[in-house]
């Protein structure tokens, strides 16, 4: 069975929020996207609906601190706790590709699914008054009018550092499965037993070895010029021979 998912490389995510804005742009303006409301977007306490947010954490204590940008959206769990709690079945998981979706026409806006999600991935659209979440851009990944390379979630296409990979995590040969296997991809809070499909690739400590030699090249041509014989106005120069 196919299970589409995102794999996010925390090692190269720079927290630029291009994935956030591209998500908002696509899911607000695309046909059938339905919009994501923003109330007071520029105020002191902005409110609005997002399918994807980049949460920035400071890790460690001074002076050993580092910044981790942590993009988080619906994790499309294989055993999603938000689905069984929905009284009308508006929240459902697709058999064909494992995407967890909300049927906006069946959602009564009781917000009980928001209680059930341990990842806080669901958000109420305060204008349309239905619960919303990441759809993995289901309306574009199957859009045959798009070139095949563009049939990916908007956030994946927008990421400038290619920190977001998209594919079938059940296919062991897929790009995402290989990345998970080779680079220690992990799930968020696996202890809940929800089996999130989205995975994160961990940050890797990169220690650069900087030596004196690498900073001062032995064969630096500029230095050779400095070492040339002192120039005297009494001696003939090249111009004397040429002219």
């Amino acid at each position: 069975m196919t299970q589409l998912a995102l794999v996010i490389d925390l090692n190269v995510c720079v927290g630029c929020s291009a994935c956030v804005t591209s998500c908002k742009e696509w899911n607000t303006s695309s046909e059938g996207g339905g919009g994501m409301v923003d109330k007071n977007p520029y105020g002191k306490d902005p409110t609005g609906t997002f399918f994807n947010r980049v949460q920035t954490f400071e890790v460690g204590e001074y002076p050993n601190v580092e910044t981790v940008h942590f993009p988080k959206s619906c994790l499309h769990c294989e055993d999603p706790p938000c689905v069984p709690v929905c009284p009308t079945g508006a929240s459902y998981k697709r058999k064909e590709d494992g995407i967890v979706l909300v049927d906006y026409d069946k959602c009564i806006g009781c917000k009980y699914c928001s209680w059930a999600c341990p990842y806080g991935a669901r958000e109420i659209d305060e204008k349309q008054k239905v619960m919303k979440k990441c759809t993995l851009c289901v309306d574009r990944i199957y859009d045959t009018t798009l070139p095949e390379a563009r049939r990916k979630p908007a956030c994946v296409l927008a990421c400038p550092t290619s920190a977001r990979l998209f594919g079938d995590v059940h296919d062991p040969m897929s790009e995402v499965s290989v990345a998970i296997n080779e680079r220690g991809g992990y799930q968020l809070m696996p202890e809940w037993g929800t089996r999130p499909s989205n995975h994160y690739l961990p940050r890797r400590k990169m220690k650069a070895q900087v030596t004196e030699e690498s900073l001062n090249r032995i064969d630096n041509p500029l230095k050779k010029e400095e070492q040339r014989a002192p120039v005297s106005s009494d001696l003939p120069s090249l111009d004397d021979f040429l002219f």
């Binding site: 409301v37 109330k39 409110t47 609906t49 947010r53 949460q55 920035t56 954490f57 400071e58 942590f70 706790p81 069984p84 709690v85 929905c86 009284p87 009308t88 079945g89 069946k106 959602c107 009564i108 806006g109 009781c110 917000k111 009980y112 928001s114 209680w115 059930a116 999600c117 341990p118 990842y119 806080g120 669901r122 958000e123 109420i124 305060e126 204008k127 349309q128 008054k129 239905v130 619960m131 968020l188 809070m189 202890e191 809940w192």
Partner: protein, 402 residues
């Protein structure tokens, strides 16, 4: 001494009846205004947000629903357990149960994102959802309570009185189990996910329902000039004390268990010691004002047979019940989700931060509208049908009292 016959009679037409309806009508109008305001402008006009998704309307709704199932208890004690002194109050008990449930449901439904899609909720069931089960349980409770009233009022179906009473009592236990399980089944939040939520809600319903019943019974009798003796009220007085004790026992068990479990220790510490308004509501609202004060008012020897003390005890029990629900509902949501267990986190999006919630005036208006609807139903109910015994004097209620 032979017992006097219990005569049920409608309340008389009076100026007070219309004044009461006018006052309650004003609150109903405010509730309607709040609903249309949120419906027109969207839910951002409320204090609820993506972190605290259920707010004050849900406190009112669940409070009324819980009190509804508890209000039926007075009738059930008479019917199911054969306590004769309670039997004359069975009709009012069932009427109050229906009214409170309708009042609670109206708040719950009007606060939904799409109350217009209620028909979907009624016809498209996901039977894995406790919420869907609750829809069935609420409707069943209304139907069974109505049948129960019917068997009490119509001699032709009197033979089904016991059966209807047992069915309604059983159903109400299941109903409150369902209401408590809305929270008990929530594995994602540390403050909930516990089987004790179901029995806790049941005993909460006993206390809140009885407290509401005591107040309604007293004012229904005093405002219509009927006699209500101390025998009946003292029975209810000590029963209320037992129920308050039951709430304290299960609430204590819940918190001690939470403190014992490392995973829940954080949220327990928050609620019990560091939660600001939630800690104050717990200790001052629920424990001090909502439990210890009513118990003191009930058991103080100098206040024996003191009606005002009993009414205050009932009032503070309701205050404590709402404080408890506020702490359970909002306090549990205010505590942040734990994405990285064992780590102290803070981010630019609510991680590690206490989620803010300030109820808006619209939410309060909607909630009070639900309370008003329940009281309007009771007021009209006792006016048009024979719900109230003509007298509940000591001689009528208990011939052996003297």
């Amino acid at each position: 001494m032979a017992s006097q016959a219990i005569i049920f009679r409608e309340t008389k037409d009076s100026k007070g009846f219309y004044i009461l309806l006018a006052v309650l009508g004003a609150f109903l109008a405010l509730g309607a205004l709040a609903f249309f305001h949120a419906e027109h402008h969207g839910h951002h006009v409320t204090g609820m947000n993506n972190q605290v998704v259920w707010g004050l309307p849900h406190v009112f709704a669940i409070g009324l629903i819980v009190a509804a199932s508890g209000a039926l208890n007075v009738g059930s004690i008479g019917t199911v357990f054969g306590k004769k002194i309670y039997q004359p109050m069975g009709r009012l008990s069932a009427l109050l149960a229906i009214s409170l449930l309708v009042g609670g449901l109206i708040v719950l439904v009007l606060d939904l994102g799409h109350p217009d899609r209620l028909i979907i909720a009624m016809t498209t069931y996901n039977f894995k959802s406790i919420f869907a089960w609750n829809i069935i349980l609420y409707n069943g409770f209304l139907a069974l309570s109505a049948v129960y009233i019917w068997t009490m009022m119509d001699r032709k179906v009197k033979k089904f009185y016991k059966l209807a009473g047992v069915a309604a009592f059983t159903w109400r236990l299941i109903l409150t189990t369902g209401t408590g399980s809305i929270f008990g089944f929530l594995v994602a939040r540390d403050f909930y996910n516990s089987a004790v939520m179901a029995p806790l809600f049941i005993v909460m319903s006993f206390a809140m329902g009885l407290a509401v019943f005591i107040l309604v019974l007293h004012f229904a009798y005093s405002w219509t000039g009927r006699t209500l003796g101390d025998v009946v009220m003292n029975r209810l007085r000590y029963l209320l004390a037992v129920f308050i004790g039951g709430v304290l026992l299960l609430e204590g068990a819940r918190h001690f268990t939470g403190l014992y479990i490392a995973q829940k220790a954080g949220v327990e510490n928050f609620i019990l010691f560091e939660g600001g308004i939630y800690t104050q509501l717990f200790w001052i609202g629920q424990i001090l004002l909502g439990s210890l004060l009513p118990l003191s008012l009930i058991f103080c020897r100098k206040l024996a047979n003191n009606r005002v003390a009993l009414l205050l005890a009932a009032l503070f029990t309701i205050v404590g019940g709402f404080a408890q629900l506020y702490v359970i509902l909002i306090g549990g949501q205010a505590y942040p989700l734990v994405l990285f267990p064992g780590a102290e986190v803070s981010s630019d999006y609510f991680d590690g931060a206490i989620n803010a919630y300030a109820p808006s005036i619209w939410e309060l208006m909607l909630g009070l509208g639900g309370v008003a609807l329940a009281l309007v139903m009771v007021t009209i109910g006792v006016k048009v049908l024979r719900f109230l015994p003509d007298s509940l004097s000591d001689a009528v209620a208990d011939p052996h009292s003297k």
